[in-house]
């Protein structure tokens, strides 16, 4: 699903965010991406979302080489990727349902289909009863679940999560991971950038460890951190 082949990213001014990173992630798997702050986790996710371009090497997502992809195709790449942000990135002046509906509205679906799919996604994250609520009236955990509902509502083949458990207590973090597992069982690939070592240890999934922009370790599933 995702292949990084000797990928480097050097920002203007010469700061190196990634250096010679190579790995492959299979379809339908859950993989953690960890490392200290500034290790290159966010840059790696941004490359997969086509928010950045690799300075060297090839980024291949769902058989599409993003390194040679035209800029105008970036929205299409993003539409086929569900992104979950640490700061949720919800629209404050839209209801929970309207926030979740965004990717479907962008895809131009019929209003009746949008409503059906939004309700199904909210039901999956346990927030159907908050459909008409405003994001600012929700707790941090609830807002994170709205973000997840928005990421899964269009049933993308790939979900990227940037520190999804950053604001959540351990119980909620485990619930959230259970949700990722459920999504992954349906064939969706999930790549989670996280500092949450407890969660990573408990789940015993594959872990990519970044350090100073290099892939320091690639720990297979079940081996544990």
């Amino acid at each position: 699903m995702i292949t990084f082949d000797r990928v480097s990213k050097i920002y203007e001014g010469g700061s190196r965010a990634l250096a010679d990173v190579s790995f492959h992630i299979d379809r339908g798997s859950i993989v953690f991406l960890t490392g200290h702050s500034g290790a290159g986790k966010s840059t790696l996710l941004r490359l997969v979302m086509m928010l950045e371009r690799a300075s060297r090497g090839q980024v291949i997502v769902d058989q599409r080489n993003l390194s040679s992809c035209a800029d105008r195709l970036a929205p299409i790449v993003r539409r086929s990727t569900g992104m979950i942000f640490q700061d949720h990135k919800l629209l404050k002046d839209k209801t929970v349902a309207d926030n979740v509906a965004l990717p479907l509205m962008i895809a131009g679906l019929k209003y009746s289909d949008i409503r059906k799919r939004v309700r199904a996604a909210l039901d999956k994250v346990g927030l159907l009863h908050k459909e008409t609520a405003w994001p600012l009236t929700l707790s941090g955990g609830e807002q994170q679940r709205v973000g997840i509902a928005r990421a899964i509502v269009s049933m993308p083949p790939l979900i990227l999560a940037d520190e999804p458990t950053g604001n959540l207590d351990p119980n909620l973090s485990r619930e959230l991971f259970a949700l990722f597992e459920q999504i992954s069982e349906q064939g969706t690939t999930v790549l989670i950038a996280s500092h949450d070592l407890n969660l990573i240890r408990q789940t015993r999934k594959r872990v990519l460890v970044l350090s100073g922009g290099r892939l320091a370790d690639d720990i297979p599933a079940s081996d544990g951190l």
């Binding site: 941004r46 979302m49 928010l51 950045e52 800029d71 105008r72 929205p75 299409i76 993003r78 539409r79 086929s80 990727t81 992104m83 942000f85 640490q86 700061d87 990135k89 919800l90 629209l91 002046d93 965004l102 990717p103 509205m105 962008i106 895809a107 131009g108 679906l109 019929k110 209003y111 928005r150």
Partner: protein
């Protein structure tokens, strides 16, 4: 891919496109209605900006349409030498008619001239002391009517012919006045063109600035939309429709202001023209012109919005700020 599958895909894409546009069209109108005061102020500025050149244009088309008694002002008065006979006068009139076919030729004999002079001068019986009638034969020639340029050319032709006739003492015409008016109208038209361009630019700038502020206040929303896969076209849509609505509403206000002004000025203008012995109904802007104003207003509003949003989107991309919290 079979043609059936391709057709289905094409139809689905078209329906999606239509749904997105109709959503943006009405949601942008909803936002404008929600922010009534701001919308009204912007529309008022746009309406006045469009009204000024349109008002001048309407004044000009009304002046052009007025019966300025062109036939009277363009008439050439010919005074024959005092010893010219009636036969000679008739010969000149016939030849003139044959060569240049003017609209009308009126011959005034010395006795008719004296009678008219007696009536209008107030000298009355005092004129009886004259031994003989000193007035010559007079001929009034009205050229075929037409545009200012055409009448000017016909008057010049008449003058050339009349100057070549030996029996004519003097040729006089009042066409200069009408000619000056024609030139002033041309100047007015040029001023309208300049004003239309300037105020059109003002409309674009006002809408662009309004939308720029609108875009700035929606920066977070734009960023989130882009992150979840919205292309530039989708992000632009609501702003472009907002610009379109601004332009259409500004155009509509300008037309309403024009209508009200025409109604208000109709009576005093009618009274003024009556004193010149002419009648004129104030011409409104007309349905066709109004439609043009609406379409142009809508286009200018759309253009202003496009410039603003495009500039922002380019900066967002160039700056690489997307998704950075």
């Amino acid at each position: 891919m079979s043609s059936d599958t391709w057709n289905r895909k094409f139809r689905r894409k078209n329906r999606a496109w239509l749904r997105q546009h109709s959503y943006s069209l009405f949601s942008s109108l909803g936002v404008l209605v929600k922010h009534k005061t701001g919308t009204m102020m912007t529309v008022l500025v746009l309406g006045i900006a469009m009204f000024l050149p349109l008002g001048l244009y309407t004044t000009l088309i009304n002046l052009e349409g007025m019966n300025m008694r062109q036939d009277e002002w363009s008439a050439v008065t010919v005074f024959f030498k005092s010893d010219t006979t009636q036969e000679e006068v008739k010969r000149v009139a016939d030849e003139l008619d044959k060569r240049l076919s003017p609209e009308a030729i009126l011959l005034i004999s010395p006795s008719e001239g004296m009678a008219e002079f007696r009536d209008v001068s107030g000298f009355g019986e005092s004129l009886d002391i004259l031994d003989e009638n000193p007035l010559p034969w007079v001929m009034q020639v009205s050229p075929q009517q037409g545009s200012t340029d055409q009448v000017e050319e016909r008057v010049a032709e008449l003058t050339r012919f009349l100057q070549s006739v030996d029996s004519i003492e003097l040729t006089q015409f009042d066409y200069k006045w009408l000619q000056r008016l024609g030139r002033m109208m041309e100047l007015g038209q040029a001023a309208v063109t300049v004003l239309i361009l300037l105020f059109g630019l003002a409309v674009v700038v006002v809408v662009a600035n309004t939308i720029r502020l609108d875009v700035a206040s929606h920066a977070e929303q734009i960023e989130i939309l882009a992150l979840v896969g919205a292309g530039n076209a989708f992000v632009r849509q609501p702003f472009l429709y907002t610009g379109l609505w601004y332009g259409l509403m500004g155009g509509l206000l300008a037309i309403v202001l024009l209508g009200l002004t025409s109604l208000y000025l109709a009576r005093p203008l009618g009274l003024l023209l009556e004193t010149y012995g002419t009648a004129h109904n104030v011409r409104g802007f007309g349905g066709y012109n109004s439609l043009w104003v609406l379409l142009t207003g809508g286009f200018l509003g759309w253009l202003g919005a496009w410039i603003s949003v495009q500039r922002y989107l380019r900066r967002l991309k160039v700056g690489g700020r997307l998704g950075r919290s």
